[in-house]
Structures are given as C-alpha cells and as structure tokens.
C-alpha cells in the first residue's frame, strides 16, 4: 500500500526553525522556505477543496502558476502558499470551497 504524501528534509539547510500554526496544530518549518514546502515536509496532504466540485487539491507547480495551493494565510483567503515564505507564528488554513466575502477586513 502506498505511504503518506510527504517530503523528507534530505538536505539540511541551516536556517532558523520557525513554528507556524496549521489548522489547530503547530508545525515546524525552516526560515526561507515557502508555506507550500513546509506543508509538504509535514505531510499535509491537501491544501484546498475546490469551489467547483469540492475536490481535494495540493501543491502542484510550486512556482505560482497553477493556483492549486490557495490557502488562508493570517486570515487572508486564497493566497498562493508556494509564493509566500513562512514566518514565525503565521496562521495557515485550508480553503474549503469559495471564500467568505467579509474575511480579510
């Protein structure tokens, strides 16, 4: 049976460890990496459910092209997780379908 969808930290980068909050859990990340990379390293296996049919999607292109990793970051919805670097204390959540109109005010 296939194992979990997760990436290993094969090469140690000597950057500072930071903690970010992801849906009520605290996960560890390395300064300088994107949110998407941090989620891959922590085995977070999907980043959003589509607003069209509710399909689960996860980081795909990692370069800001595909918009599959849209997430809520520090209460701002629909941001590309592969384009934003992690910061200590950042709060990250999945997008479930369409956003709320009055978020991010």
């Amino acid at each position: 049976m296939a194992s979990v969808f997760r990436f290993s930290r094969s090469i140690n980068r000597d950057t500072r460890l930071v903690s970010i909050q992801f849906e009520n859990q605290v996960i560890e990340a390395r300064e300088g990496e994107t949110i998407a990379a941090a989620l891959l390293a922590n085995g977070i296996d999907f980043t959003r459910k589509t607003p069209v049919n509710g399909q689960a999607r996860a980081p795909f292109c990692m370069v800001g092209t595909c918009f599959e990793c849209l997430m809520e970051v520090d209460q701002i919805p629909n941001l590309q997780a592969c384009m934003i670097e992690v910061q200590e204390g950042m709060v990250v959540g999945r997008m479930y379908g369409p956003r709320n109109p009055d978020d991010d005010t």
């Binding site: 049976m1 296939a2 194992s3 979990v4 969808f5 997760r6 990436f7 290993s8 930290r9 094969s10 090469i11 140690n12 980068r13 000597d14 390395r30 300088g32 990496e33 994107t34 990379a37 941090a38 891959l40 390293a41 296996d45 999907f46 589509t50 069209v52 049919n53 399909q55 689960a56 999607r57 996860a58 980081p59 795909f60 292109c61 990692m62 370069v63 800001g64 092209t65 595909c66 918009f67 599959e68 849209l70 629909n78 592969c82 384009m83 670097e85």
Partner: protein, 473 residues
C-alpha cells in the same frame, strides 16, 4: 539600490528608461548590460530572490545543496551580480499584472499596486511546464517535476516513500539525478517518449553532436539511473493516476502490457513551453510550432516585437535553455539601448554581432531534443474523462462536446463551459484546449488559435485597482 521600497519608486515619477520583467538568466544578463552603461533600469520579478526558476534559491544556498544540484546550477551565481550596478533597481515580489500599449507596466508587490512608465521593456518571463493531462493528474500527490525540483532547490526536500517519475524531457532526467544525489529514492522512472520519436530525431543527431556538453550530461544521466538500479520503463502510454483523496498509484502500459505501481508522490513532466501570458495579453502575433506543439511570440533577431518598445528574451521567446537565454538577454539589452540612443551606436552594434555569433552553436542541439521529446499524443488530446481545465474542472470530453455544438476556437469553448476562466488564466489548459479543438475539427492548431488573454495577468484586489486613481491616474 537593491531593496528600494515601493514608496521610493512612487516618488521617482514612475519613470524608467528600461524596465526588465523577470530576473532569470535572460533578465539578469540584460540588467548587467544596462547596469554597466549606467542606464537607469528597473528589474521586476514575482519571486523574493533573483535567478528565475532555473537558479531559484541560489543566493542563499548552502554548500551541501549546491553539490546536489550540480555545476550547471552553480553557474548562475555570477548572473545575479547583474543587479548590483548602481543604476539598476531590483524589485522582488513584484508581480506584473498588465502592460498597456503605451509601455506602462502595472505591477503589484506586498505594499500594493503601482505602475511604471518606461521607454523600453524587456520581457524575460521564461517558461512554464507543459500541461500533462491524463486521468487522475489533479489528485494531491501528483506534482510537476519542476515543482518537485523547486522543493529541493528552496527547502532541500525530496519525496518520501514511493516516488514515481513519469513523462519525458531533459528536466525529468535532471531531477532524477538531483533527487538521487540528495539521497532520495525513486521507485521507478517511466518514460513516455513514443518509440517513433527516436527515429524522427535521428536525422538531427549531427546537430546534437556539436553540443558536447549536452551529450555528455545525457550519457551520464543514463549511467546514474542504471547504477542505482531504478526500474526504468520506456514508451509508456495509457496513464491513469489512481487514488481516492490522493494519489496511490499509477497505471500505465509499457512493453505490451499494463502495469500498476504504488506511489505517494507522482512527478510528471513533458517539457517546457514559453510563458506567453504577457505577450498574448498585448495581442502580439504568435506562431504555432508544430514540432514543439506550442506558441512562440513572433520576434526579430534581437527579440524585437511588433511593439517598438518591447523585446522578448529567453525561454519566453522560444525554448533554447538557460545559456541561450543569457545571450538573448544581452542581445535584447543592446538592441533596446540602441533604441534609447544612450550609447555609442557602432559599439553596441558590434556587441550585438558578437552575441549573435555566440548564440548560434547553442541552438544546434535543439532540433534533436525537440524532436526526440515531442509530447506524446495522449497528453495533447487526452481521453474524454481527463480534466483539462484544473481551475474550472472541465474535461476533455466537455471540450469535444462544445466543438460538436459549433465552437470553432478556445474563446467560444470558454463561453460554453468556462475552461480558461479560473485564476490560472488558462496557463494549464490553453495548449490542450486548442489541441483538442483542432483535433475534433480536423484542422491545424494554428487555425484554431489561443485564448484571448485579458488583464490582470495575475489576480489583483479591487482595492489595488481602485488605488491607481490616487497615484495620479
């Protein structure tokens, strides 16, 4: 002037003789030429550090990762110094979302939206990975090889567990080597290059021989794969990624029978194509490339376009690789500088001549590579159940049915079922939709055309759009 803030730029009357969009090899080489001559230049890129995707993360990389990525990657180091000239302003995290026909460049950065007026613009936005649609390619765990490589370059990550790589092209093989160098494991390498491509490519092999470096690295790669004993399937077809909530395996046909391999990460890749969002939204002419199955913007020898103030350099103009992109950036810069009339004309023309000569041998290997790695038909016109527009979840069968209803081109299918209307603006479906329509109508893709790309090139908030007014618009 590295790290100039948006406010500072704003007070600088929004004007710059030269604006370069994209800080990959082409953009950086162009900035270096302009910087050496002291020409005021602004370089915009949507990433935080310069280098483009090819040299992504290079500025703050550790030695251990550098070793893994190989000598080609390291060679980007010198390029980044192109931004250090006093007359060059580097604007990271600046996403261009519109250019108007008077050369005004609108962009958005963490401080909001703004615009620049320029006399000359060099577009160096590089390449995108070609969409590789097959049933199941939207499942979590299916990622582009380029995306997996970015995870390695920027965070030192490699896939854990069962990792299968499928597709074709130099990047797929390069990633294989890099993942192995990093101590990662690869469950299987599955190449989808059709058998007949090798025969077709054969006649271009003499050109390939002229490019020793490429040939050597190709041979080395094959050796690495064999040394690690990685199961290697060839001429694979009939791909399906299986899994419920995420990818669990890949089914495919190879050697006359079906196979199924379990996997938790599936890397896919079938080459790269020019990123033409900006040249398309400016309504420039684009020519269909029947071998590479993609569009190239119509450009002159120095990247000149139908707009006198715009040049295109690098892979965004046509796929020739990083080294050629550098030279094209140099060419475009000299040519733009001639137009600006800011330097000794004869000297500039001599530089253009020298650069053109250097560029020539770099393109000799392309016909062979293009022909050998031409994408397999099953990814150009995928099976009906395949989602082609990932954003709006429109299938290949839907597109075919819209053609049967009378749609002759992608702008009509867009109206009928929304393909290309999502946030990616057709980047991951445009080529496929045009191919599907052409195939269903039995006409060439050149006759079908492409999406009319409309601004903003990347989503931008209403507040940002509204704020342009306060900036004197």
């Amino acid at each position: 002037m590295v790290g100039c803030t948006a406010q500072e730029i704003l007070t600088m009357t929004h004007k710059s003789p030269l604006v370069i969009i994209g800080a990959g090899p082409a953009g950086l080489a162009a900035a270096d030429v302009a910087g050496r001559l002291g020409i005021d230049t602004i370089v915009l890129d949507d990433q935080k550090s310069a280098g483009g995707q090819i040299y992504r993360g290079l500025s703050d990389i550790g030695d251990n990762l550098l070793k893994v990525l190989g000598p080609e990657y390291k060679s980007g180091r010198e390029l980044v110094s192109g931004l250090e000239h006093a007359s060059v302003t580097w604007k990271p995290q600046a996403t261009v979302w519109q250019i108007t026909e008077d050369g005004t460049v609108y962009y958005s950065d963490p401080t909001g939206s703004s615009y620049l007026q320029s006399e000359q613009v060099i577009l160096a936005t590089g390449a995108l990975e070609r969409p590789m649609p097959f049933p199941g390619w939207t499942l979590p765990g299916v990622m582009t090889a380029g995306g997996i490589q970015i995870a390695l370059k920027t965070a030192g990550l490699t896939p854990e567990g069962e990792f299968v790589l499928v597709g074709s092209g130099p990047l797929l093989l390069l990633l294989t080597r890099q993942v192995l160098n990093a101590g990662g494991k690869i469950t299987a390498l599955i190449e989808t290059t059709p058998r007949q491509n090798s025969f077709r490519a054969l006649k271009y092999f003499p050109g390939m021989l002229k490019s020793r470096e490429l040939l050597r690295s190709g041979i080395q790669l094959t050796g690495v794969i064999r040394k690690h004993g990685i199961p290697h399937y060839r001429h694979a077809s009939s791909l399906t990624a299986v899994g419920k909530e995420k990818v669990e395996g890949l089914q495919f046909r190879s050697g006359g029978r079906m196979h199924e391999l379990g996997c938790s990460v599936l890397g896919i890749h079938i080459g790269v194509v020019p990123n033409i969002q900006i040249s398309r939204h400016l309504n420039l002419s684009h020519d269909w490339q029947p071998v590479q199955h993609c569009w190239y913007p119509r450009t002159g020898p120095c990247g000149e376009t139908e707009l006198s103030w715009l040049r295109i350099a690098g892979d965004g103009r046509g796929i020739f690789g990083a080294k050629a992109a550098e030279l094209q950036g140099t060419l475009a810069a000299w040519s733009a500088i001639v137009s600006l009339d800011k330097t000794d004309q004869s000297g500039a023309k001599e530089m253009i001549q020298i650069t053109k000569e250097k560029l020539l041998p770099l393109s000799s290997a392309r016909p062979f590579i293009d022909c050998l790695y031409a994408p397999s038909q099953e990814f150009l016109t995928p099976a009906d159940e395949t989602i082609v527009c990932r954003c709006e979840e429109v299938s290949a069968g839907d597109i075919r049915s819209y053609v049967d209803l009378g749609c002759t081109g992608p702008n009509q299918t867009k109206s009928f079922g929304r393909p290309g209307m999502g946030p990616c603006q057709g980047r991951y479906c445009g080529l496929v939709v045009s191919e599907l329509i052409a195939d269903q109508r039995q006409v060439p893709v050149s006759e079908v055309g492409y999406y009319r790309i409309r601004p903003p090139i990347k989503p931008v908030t209403l507040a940002e759009l509204a704020s342009l007014h306060k900036q004197g618009m």
